[in-house]
C-alpha cells in the first residue's frame, strides 16, 4: 500500500474548519500551519476520533479525513 501521502494544504483547512465548527477549537486567526501541530488541535482531533469510534491517533489520517468530509448536521458534537 502506498504510504499515506503527506497531508495536503486543503485537508489542513478541512481539519481546522471541522474542529472549529464541531469541536469548539478556538481559532484566534493564527496561521493554520502553526495551529496544526499545536497540542490543542491534536487534543480536539482525538476527541473527534473518539466520538466516531476511529483509531485515536491525534493525526488527520485518511479515515479521519473521510469522516470529516461526510455531510452532517451543523450542531456541534461538543457543546460550546
Amino acid at each position: 500500500f502506498p504510504a499515506s501521502p503527506e497531508i495536503r494544504e486543503q485537508d489542513v483547512e478541512t481539519v481546522q474548519k471541522y474542529l472549529e465548527n464541531y469541536y469548539d477549537l478556538k481559532s484566534d486567526g493564527k496561521q493554520i500551519e502553526k495551529q496544526r501541530n499545536s497540542g490543542l488541535v491534536v487534543e480536539k482531533l482525538k476527541q473527534m476520533q473518539e466520538f466516531f469510534g476511529l483509531k485515536v491517533t491525534g493525526k488527520p489520517d485518511a479515515e479521519t479525513l473521510k469522516m470529516m468530509k461526510q455531510p452532517r448536521c451543523g450542531v456541534p458534537d461538543l457543546a460550546r
Binding site: Y22, C73, D77
Partner: protein, 367 residues
C-alpha cells in the same frame, strides 16, 4: 445518546410548530408531510404532542435558509453542513433551519428531508448528538431507506420527558456492539479477501490494515438489499457475492447490485419448494462446490455445472460432525470452515472432519 449540556427541556409537553417558508425542491404537501412525520416519530415515544400553526410565533419555527442567515451559524453551500436546530427555549430556541443550498428530496437521493428533519427535531427537544451510528441523532447523514428511532434515540428522549402514554412502550432497533460477548450473526461472507459479518441492518468489517471493526449500514454499500439477511457467500472466481433472504437472493459485484435480482432459490439452484429459506452458505473456491445449510440438513451445489449434486440433502452431522444441527452462518478461510451458532464458533477441518477449536462468535474482532 447525549442530552444537551444544561439539560434544556420544554416545560410544556404540548408544543406548536410553524413552517415559515418552503423549499422549491419539493411540493409543499411533501414538505408538510416530511415535517409532520418527523414530529410523529418523537411524539409516538414520549408524552409530547405537536400542533401545527400557520402564523405568529410557534415554539418550533422551521425555515429553509442559505448562507449567513443571521443566527451566528452560517450555512456553507451545497454539502457539508445540511441543517441545524437550537435547543429548547424562548425565541430562536427550538427553531430548525435547513440549508436551501442543498437539494431536498422525498426519496433515496441526497438529501432526504424527512430523515434530516427527524434528526434536527431531536435537537429542538433537547438532545445532542449520539455516538451510536444506528441512532437518528448520529451527526452524519446516513439514509438507509427507512426513518425510525433507534432504541438509543428513544432512551434519550424519554430521559428528558419520560415514557409515552402508549400502553405498550414502543422500542427501536439496537446497534450491534462488536465486543458484546452475546453477539450473534445473521450471515457471514468473505468479500475480496476481507470478511463481512452481517447483523440486522448492519455490516461489520475487519481488515488487517485497520484494527478497529468498521460498522455501518448494509445500505451504505447495497441500498436495495433487505435487512436481517439469512445467508451470504462469495463465488470468488466470478467476483460475486450472493445474499439470501427467505426464498430470494441478490448478487453483487463490489458495490454494484447485479441486474435482474432478486431471483428465487428454486429456479436458480433447484431447491424443493419445501425449503423456504437458507440458514447459511459457503462456497469452496478450489472445488466450485457450494454448501447450503437448511435446518439440520445441507445441500451441495456445483457452481461450474450450475446444478445441485445428486444424493442431497444429507444430514449436517454426516459431513460436519460436532457442529450441532442448526447453524446461523459459515465461511471458509485458509482451508478451514468456521461455523457459527448463537455465540459459539467452531473451527472445522474438512479434511479430518474434526472440530479444531471452539471460539466466541466475535473472536475476529480483537476485543
Amino acid at each position: 445518546f447525549a442530552l444537551t449540556p444544561g439539560n434544556p427541556r420544554w416545560e410544556r409537553t404540548h408544543l406548536t410548530y410553524r413552517i415559515e417558508n418552503y423549499t422549491p425542491d419539493l411540493p409543499r404537501a411533501d414538505v408538510d408531510s416530511a415535517i409532520r412525520k418527523a414530529f410523529e416519530l418523537w411524539s409516538d415515544v414520549s408524552p409530547l404532542t405537536f400542533t401545527k400553526v400557520f402564523d405568529g410565533q410557534a415554539d418550533i419555527m422551521i425555515s429553509f435558509v442559505r448562507g449567513d442567515h443571521r443566527d451566528n451559524s452560517p450555512f456553507d453551500g451545497p454539502g457539508g453542513n445540511l441543517a441545524h436546530a437550537f435547543q429548547p427555549g424562548p425565541g430562536i430556541g427550538g427553531d430548525a433551519h435547513f440549508d436551501e443550498d442543498e437539494r431536498w428530496t422525498n426519496n433515496f437521493r441526497d438529501y432526504n428531508l424527512y430523515r434530516v428533519a427527524a434528526h434536527e427535531l431531536g435537537h429542538s427537544l433537547g438532545l445532542s448528538h449520539s455516538t451510536d451510528i444506528g441512532a437518528l441523532m448520529y451527526p452524519n447523514y446516513i439514509f438507509n431507506g427507512d426513518v425510525e428511532l433507534a432504541q438509543d434515540d428513544i432512551d434519550g428522549i424519554q430521559a428528558i420527558y419520560g415514557p409515552s402514554q402508549n400502553p405498550t412502550q414502543p422500542t427501536g432497533p439496537q446497534t450491534p456492539q462488536a465486543c458484546d460477548s452475546k453477539l450473534t450473526f445473521d450471515a457471514i461472507t468473505t468479500i475480496r479477501g476481507e470478511m463481512m459479518f452481517l447483523k440486522d441492518r448492519f455490516y461489520m468489517r475487519t481488515n488487517s490494515f485497520y484494527p478497529e471493526v468498521e460498522l455501518n449500514f448494509i445500505s451504505v454499500f447495497w441500498p436495495t438489499l433487505p435487512n436481517k439477511l439469512d445467508a451470504a457467500y462469495e463465488v470468488s472466481d466470478r467476483d460475486e457475492v450472493r445474499f439470501f433472504k427467505g426464498n430470494k437472493y441478490w448478487a453483487v459485484q463490489g458495490q454494484d447490485v447485479l441486474r435482474g435480482y432478486p431471483k428465487d432459490i428454486y429456479s436458480s439452484f433447484g431447491f424443493p419448494r419445501t425449503v423456504n429459506h437458507i440458514d447459511a452458505a459457503v462456497s469452496e473456491e478450489d472445488t466450485g462446490k457450494t454448501y447450503f445449510f437448511v435446518a439440520n440438513k445441507y445441500w451441495r451445489y456445483d457452481e461450474r455445472k450450475r446444478s445441485m449434486d445428486a444424493g442431497y440433502p444429507k444430514m449436517i452431522a454426516h459431513e460436519f460432525p460436532g457442529i450441532g444441527d442448526k447453524i446461523d452462518a459459515v465461511f471458509k478461510k485458509d482451508g478451514f470452515f468456521y461455523f457459527f451458532h448463537g455465540t459459539r464458533q467452531y473451527k472445522f477441518d474438512p479434511r479430518t472432519k474434526r472440530i479444531l477449536t471452539l471460539l466466541k462468535a466475535n473472536s475476529w474482532f480483537n476485543c
